[in-house]
Amino acid sequence: MLRLIAQRLGLGALTLLAASVLIFAGTEILPGDLASAILQNNATPESLAEMRRELGLDRPAPVRYVEWLGHVATGDLGRSLASQRPVAREIAPRLRNTLFLAGYAAVVAVPVALALGLMAAIWQGGVYDRAINFVTLLTIAIPEYLVGYILIKYLSVRLGWLPSLANVTPDTPLATRFVLTLLPALTLVLVVIAHMMRMTRASVLQIMASPYIEMAFLKGLPKWRVVVRHAFPNALAPIINVIALDLAYLIVGVVVVEAVFVYPGLGQLLVDAVSKHDVPVVQACGLIFAAAFILLNMTADVLAIMSNPRLRHPR
């Protein structure tokens, strides 16, 4: 099992390396390089050449890639073109904010989704099951900003219960932070919970068709016990996978939700940087998002291997 897990970790590291190539190449191979993007309409051949020299663009791309990777590995993410400040210093407080928000949402969403999914599986075909199925089918298709604005309109503007802007600063106390980010976190929860819950229900119900479950029923066990003690542990591997996938989705969804609530997170910084052609910041943020995405998928694989003995001995 250790060898299998080590293999997965190695594969994850390799994927991350490939992703860094992709991120670097994405800003390199495309027509129109960084210099022309910065200068835009003011570009003369001379100023372009000057700018290219200044940014080191006159050297071959593979050399610059290795250099860039070396810098990233030692924590030096370069300088922002827009603010001239070190990228690492721009990113650090925002990364903390984004992790806080995503973590907040995940901690609420995962247990609730599991509970709702199990309940739907226990009362399969009942009114609760059908109702929640229909509701989740609806919410699964609704974009984050609609959920966010509906919550703002009713919970914050009409009722005045919660603030509509999540304008936290580095010295906001933790308790206030939880209140300020409650609406954005709630939006994220509502967006991911439907899919997580549906997949939990489906995985459990698939297991429910197997003979050993029938045996458990014939033994006279109550349904909730069969679902929770017999079916759920075996459904865990696919459920973990789905949760990781949804949490990875959370990372991307966070970009839009931050824009809705004007939350000073990494997503806002990234969107800003894209519109300003601030490539060093885009590369750094992109790398962080990609790393989180890959890390979650890798963790899911490892957890699935650990939770299911059958996966430990692949044929």
Partner: protein
């Protein structure tokens, strides 16, 4: 009511009605919309009245008319993107399945790499260099979405290419293009149509999200996503303005999902059962 020889479920029927209404609005926008999308007809944020059913927007334009014209941009763009990503994905996917060997290996690894990263982040990286002109947006999203079509069409074609009649065609000396077009495509049609619906709603939501973030359709052109962005400040004054375009986006996505859900269900059930 029946479609493809199967009875339509109630959600599927509802979905078809939603899709048809949206398509009609997009095609006949100038006939349906009471005002031009760019003409100022009153004060900014004028109240809803019999003349302006949803009120006026930030510049005093009729919100209802703009919503109808927005359908053109949103649906049109998403359709173009989906068609492009489908062509790309199907041709490469089928080619990989028929040719096998190094073509398959190279394409499959490339697709794995593209799928190992969040699409939105990849799009950001490309848009930060190339800017946000419409052709750039269309090609970027289509290329980033094609890997998912590639995966499906490769898997479908792998199964079909192993069948005798494809072998016969190959022995007969038919070329790659003929085999793809005449032998594989017709037999992979049903699941591909359902996939088209899914990819359409993905492209539709994606372009709307980009526009909402200010990185998609740029003014003066407007789609539903950029309308949400333009009107978002009004939410703090308890106005519903941003909810209309956002609701339109959600409604069409739900409609498409209902139909796709029904199509996937009939394929899962197999043919012959007319339920």
């Amino acid at each position: 009511m029946r479609m493809f020889g199967h009875r339509l479920s109630l959600p599927a029927l509802l979905g078809l009605v939603i899709i048809a209404a949206n398509l009609l609005a997009a095609v006949f926008a100038p006939l349906i919309a009471p005002f031009d999308q760019a003409s100022v007809v009153g004060d900014a944020w004028g109240d809803a009245s019999a003349q302006f059913p949803l009120g006026l927007d930030n510049l005093g334009r009729d919100l209802f008319s703009r919503l109808i014209y927005g359908a053109r941009m949103s649906i049109g763009l998403a359709l173009v993107i989906t068609c492009l990503s489908f062509t790309l994905g199907i041709v490469t996917g089928f080619a990989a399945a028929v040719l096998r060997g190094w073509v398959d290996t190279v394409l499959s690894r490339l697709v794995d790499l593209l799928l190992s990263m969040p699409t939105l982040i990849l799009a950001f990286i490309i848009l930060s260099v190339l800017g946000t002109d419409l052709p750039v947006l269309v090609v970027t999203i289509a290329v980033l979405d094609a890997p998912k079509v590639f995966r499906l069409s490769r898997a479908l074609a792998m199964n079909i290419a192993a069948l005798e009649y494809v072998e016969v065609a190959r022995v007969r000396g038919e070329g790659l293009w003929w085999i793809i077009r005449r032998e594989i495509l017709p037999n992979a049609m049903a699941p591909l149509i359902a996939e088209f619906g899914l990819r359409f709603s993905f492209a539709f939501l994606f372009i709307a999200a980009l526009s909402f973030l200010g990185l998609g359709v740029q003014p003066p052109a407007a789609d539903w996503g950029s309308m949400v962005r333009d009107y978002r400040d009004m939410i703090n004054l308890d106005a519903a303005a941003p909810l209309y375009p956002a609701g339109a986006i959600a409604l069409l996505t739900i409609g498409v999902n209902f139909v796709v859900d029904w199509m996937l269900a009939i394929h899962a059930r197999g043919h012959g059962e007319g339920a």
